[in-house]
Structures are given as C-alpha cells and as structure tokens.
C-alpha cells in the first residue's frame, strides 16, 4: 500500500491524483494529499505516473509499513519500477526488447515442473 509521498521531490503536478484507479489522492495546495490510504490496491501505477519519483508503495496489500525515505532512496528502491520499465524513455530505447521472452520463459518453467514430476513418479 502507498507508504510515502516525498514532499521535497513533489512538484504538485497531480499526475498521481488523476492516475490512481482507487482515488487514493486528493489534490492539495502544495502537494497531493493521501486522503484514502486504505483504498490503495498496491498496483504501483502511481509510481509510473510520477516523473519525479516522489512516491513509494510498500509491497504488502494490507500494510503501509516501509523503511524511512532516506534508506529507501539509498537502496535504490524509489523510482525503481519506472527505471526498470523505461517508462519515460524514447520509443526507440528498446525498453520492451526483452518482453518477447515472457512466453518462452513461462513455458520453460512449465516444462521444468512437468519433467521433475515425471522423474519423481518414474517408478509408480
């Protein structure tokens, strides 16, 4: 669930207010307000919308608990999803060049499980 709105990074562009499907944020005078934190669905999509990396979503769907902002920034976790996605990269940056591997890797896992099960039950 939403854990931090980092005031010193926020430019009050309100992109998160518009993007959140669960209406977690209300517009505010200086920065958006986390008005309905418990409505957060942990979808992380507000982080993609935030070009300033001013938001941090904790990974549990039933907890807002997170380490202090400075620690998360030092660990490289703030803005990580946006960077991994290449969300704001130019379209020719190759940000989705690995995406074709999704199907083959899913299938490879299924194969591994099937072969392991067969080996385990070879004597049955």
């Amino acid at each position: 669930m939403i854990a931090h709105l980092i005031a010193e990074r926020c430019t009050n562009c309100a992109a998160c207010v518009a993007a959140c499907p669960a209406l977690v944020f209300d517009p505010g005078a200086a920065q958006p307000v986390i008005a309905r934190a418990d409505a957060c669905e942990t979808c992380y999509l507000c982080e993609l919308a935030c070009s300033e990396d001013a938001l941090y979503v904790a990974p549990e769907t039933d907890s807002h608990a997170a380490a202090p902002v400075a620690e998360l920034i030092a660990a490289g976790l703030v803005g990580q999803i946006r960077r991994d996605s290449g969300w704001n990269d130019p379209f020719d940056a190759g940000q989705l060049d690995a995406y074709r591997l999704l199907g083959p890797l899913l299938g490879a896992g299924v194969e591994i499980a099937t072969r392991r099960h067969e080996a385990r039950h070879a004597g049955d």
């Binding site: 992380y44 989705l96 074709r100 591994i112």
Partner: protein
C-alpha cells in the same frame, strides 16, 4: 441533473472498453467513456501483460489453430467467432504503434502479440483520445436507464471526486465492465465486481457459462503478482518437506494438490529450478513482480517464500453476459457487451479464456460492439422519458437498514473461491452456499441504501452477491465435469450436457440449457 448526450456510451475503462470506444469513434459516433477507476490504470490488463492469440492470415495455419482451440473448448466453442477474432486481432493490434513502444522480436522485426499492461493501457488511452473519445475517470455507473419500451438509453452514476450524480443519454450503451473476481485480492481486480452483469440482468439481459469460473493464480501470500517466476516452482511445507504437487500442465489436478496442501498448512515456493535465463531478465519483463520481492528484502530465486492462490473468478473463467448475435448485442435493445463482462464461450468454450484467447476476444469483441453500437446510435431519441433500472442497493423494497458490506463480500468470495468449495464442487456445499447467498441478497434488496461514495460500494456489493448467485446456480445445474467446471460428485464429462447454460434472475435465480432459451425467444 442535466444529462450529457452522446451517440455511444462505454461503461468501463479496460482494454475491451478502449477498443470499443476507438471503433465507435472511427465509425463516426460521438463517444463517452465512464470508468469506475481511471482509464489506463484500472482493471486487470493495466498491471498485466496480455499476449494475444496470434496466427498469420494463411488459411492452413488459421484452420489448424481453430481446430485446436475448438477441441480445447470442450464442445462449446464456435469456429466462426474464432476466425473473426483471429482476423480482427491480426489487423488491429499493430495500429497502437504510434503510442506503444513495440520491442524487438529478436529477428529484426517487432514483437507484436504480447504487450505489457501499463504501456498497453497508456497507448489505448492516447489512441482513444486521438480518435476524439471523451473519457471521464472516477465516474462509476450505478444503473442503466431505459425508455418506456425497455430500450436502454443511457446510464446514471456518480462522480467520485465531488460526489455529484451524473446522467448520460446515449443512442447505444456498451458494457465493458470486466469480469467478476469477488474481491479476491487478485492484482488489478478490485473494481471487477460484476457491475455490468447486474446492470445487464436488471435491464432484461441474461448470462451464460457462469459455472466456468474455477481459475486461480499463484502468488506470494502478501500480494498478488503476475506468475512468470513461479511456473517451475518446487513447493515445501512448514517443516521443510517437499510437497508432491502435480505440475501446472495438469490443470485442475494442479489446483487440487496445491489447494489440499494449503488447507493443511502454509506452503512455500522455492524457485531454485527456475529457467536459468529468468533471474537476469525478470525486472525487464515484469518490473512490478520484481518489486514485490525486492521491497520485502527477499531474493525470490534464492529464498523460499509463502504462497497462496488468488481467485480469478470469471476473469480467467469464460462466463458472462450472453450475446445473442455476432454484433455483441445482449438481447436488450440498445445494450451491447464486450470483453470479460461478456461470455467468452464462443471462443474459449468450457476451457479457460485466460491469456491469449481472452485478450484477442477483448480487442475483437470491443471493436465489434463499438462499431455496432455506433451504427445503432442514430436511432436515438434523447427526449424520451427515462426509467431508472437499478434495484438492489438503490431502491430497497423495505425499510433501510445498515448492511455489513464487507461481510457480504467476504461470504460471496468464500462461496466462489474457498479451496475446499471450489476445487471439489459438490451439490451439498453448492446448496449451502446458495441458501446463504440468497439470504444476503434479500438483505441488500430489501434494506440496502446509501449515498455518495458509499452508494457505489453498496452497488458493488450487490453485484458481487448477485454474480456469486449466478455462478453457484450454474455450477449446481451442470451435473458433470467439463473444462474449467469440476464436480467432485460427477467427475465424468456427459455428452448429453454439451450445451451452454443460460442464467439470470434477481430475486429468483434461474438456469436453463441454451436450447430451451432459444425456443423461448422464438416463442
């Protein structure tokens, strides 16, 4: 309340809604979308990564793909529909290119058929805006409105931001509200409460295939994610003994063995056997999945972690609003349905519509419904007197009382998704669920009323309970095992039941084989 007037009203904000809006606008209609969430981030596509059923347009390949899918559909598919969605998907998915950064196919071309959810929905929003579609986010529809002849002429709802009511008058309405996940916690599914199913039935529509709803995805117990890392997982109990879990390819037996283990105690996944190339690329394929572990300080390829199954209800099932023709009409004049809100039996039959076929269906049924709705919109009379069709949660039959919405949703979710009930469906447990859900329905229908945002949640609750009743009634009526529907007290497929089951009804839920339903329409 002054009404907005539009040719086509799209209710929903996921991929089917987007394609419906785009197609309606391309057909020359004025189009308004109203979404419960925010179009671009709401729904299960936005956090997912839909692969599309993708077969080149050479006749032999298409014939072979359709033959394979027809077998998978277990007697309930329609090869003509399959042909149509293959064609529409092949032609239209590449048209998102101005707004979507297609990656490489590794052979000098573009990889088109698999698209990442956040980027896909961002692209569809931009595409719709470029076609002149007006989008109203955070504008859930609460009910449909009809003219005196029963023709749907629009909807009413609430603007969540300022809690102001709205009314839209439309020449045609497309329900693209998604499937029903019964608030299982499945990522992206919170708003997928069956709202369109309830609105369609209130308007005189009906459902089909609601029994095909036993679908789950595995995830860490603290949050639902995509499943890419887990398909090769080993499983352990709390003492560290390895569990003998049937592999994913065994379908329902995989679910049964996992479910039995989880009912006995905590289950842990170990990804030591994951494909060797996966750890290095996971974050480039599914950044959200990597984050769910990294932010807990867990190395998912090294550390064992607790897992559970998240119900996917009718999302990865196949049932939904019945379609009466090839234009995605619901049988109610002026009302169309598309995507997961509609039955996907024409293309998926009794098998899971999840993954590629469902995505191709969402795109295609969206385009079909949108274009047909645009064609019908010119017949509209926006000055007709409007009758509001919403019942449960809006217009109680008796005295208003407090409703324990959280409790009702939890009970409905348990009736559909509890492992013991879902993986071993039996008449006794289904009958007990039906009785409980009937009582819960009575509570909402007789006493439920709320205002402001609470009204939206109460209507969602009514939709969850209603949809659960149609699922349970359909599961009771299909006394055999077929595709996704497994009956522990009828484990064989019965050739005499190779027909679809139609369902509907509000206070009195009914289920009938399709053959009978057809005769009724003729009569």
């Amino acid at each position: 309340m002054s009404a907005t007037i539009t040719d086509v009203l799209i209710i929903g904000g996921g991929m089917a809604a987007a394609w419906a809006a785009i197609a309606a606008a391309e057909a020359g209609a004025s189009v308004l979308m109203v979404d419960k969430g925010a179009m671009g981030t709401s729904g299960v596509t936005a956090t997912g990564g839909p692969g599309h059923w993708w077969v080149p347009p050479d006749p032999a390949s298409r014939r072979e793909a359709i033959a394979r899918q027809t077998t998978k559909a277990a007697g309930l598919g329609d090869p003509e529909w399959m042909e149509r969605i293959l064609d529409l998907t092949w032609r239209h998915l590449p048209t998102i290119a101005p707004w979507y950064p297609f990656g490489s196919d590794g052979q000098g071309g573009r990889f088109i058929n698999g698209v990442r959810g956040p980027e896909y929905m961002r692209a569809l929003r931009a595409f719709a805006v470029a076609r002149g579609v007006e989008i109203r986010d955070h504008h859930p529809a609460l009910e449909l409105i009809a003219d005196p002849d029963g023709r749907v002429i629009g909807a009413r709802g609430l603007s969540l931001r300022d809690e102001h009511p709205w009314e839209v008058r439309a020449g045609a309405v497309v329900l693209a509200t998604g499937g029903a996940a019964f608030r299982s916690g499945l990522i992206g599914s919170h708003a997928c409460t069956g709202d369109g199913h309830l609105m369609a039935v209130e308007a005189g529509g009906r459902l089909s295939g609601m029994e095909f709803s036993i679908a789950y995805s595995l995830s860490p117990e603290w949050a639902s994610t995509r499943t890419l890392p887990y398909t090769g997982a080993r499983f352990y109990d709390v003492q560290g003994h390895e569990l003998d879990i049937a592999p994913p390819r065994t379908g329902h037996i995989h679910l049964q063995t996992l479910g039995a283990a989880m009912l006995a105690g905590p289950v842990f996944a170990d990804l030591v056997d994951a494909p060797r190339d996966l750890p290095a690329v996971l974050r480039r394929i599914q950044p959200l999945t990597a984050a769910a572990f990294e932010r807990r300080g867990i190395n998912l390829f090294r550390d064992r972690f607790p897992v559970r199954l998240f119900g996917e209800g009718t999302l990865r099932g196949t049932g939904g609003i019945d379609l009466v023709d090839g234009d995605c009409r619901t049988g109610v004049p002026g009302l169309f349905a598309a995507g997961d809100a509609a039955t996907r039996e024409p293309v998926a039959g009794a098998a899971s519509g999840g993954g590629a076929v469902n995505s191709a269906w969402a795109l295609s049924s969206g385009r079909i419904a949108g274009a047909a709705a645009a064609g019908e919109a010119t017949r509209a009379r926006h000055d007709a007197p409007a009758r509001a069709l919403g019942q449960a949660g809006l217009r109680p039959g008796g005295a208003v009382r407090d409703i324990d919405g959280v409790g009702l949703i939890r009970r409905a979710g348990a009736a559909i998704h509890d492992y013991d009930k879902a993986f071993w469906r039996r008449e006794e447990t289904l009958a007990a669920s039906a009785a409980e859900l009937d009582a819960d329905w009575r509570a909402i229908a007789d006493h439920g009323h709320a205002s402001g945002r609470a009204a939206v949640e109460l209507r969602s609750t009514a939709a969850v309970v209603a949809t659960a009743r149609w699922v349970v009634a359909s599961a009771r009526a299909r006394r055999e095992t077929r595709g996704l529907h497994y009956r522990d007290d009828a484990r064989q497929t019965d050739p005499a039941q190779a027909h679809r089951l139609i369902s509907g009804g509000l206070d009195d839920v009914w289920v009938r084989p399709l053959a009978d339903a057809k005769e009724e329409i003729a009569a």
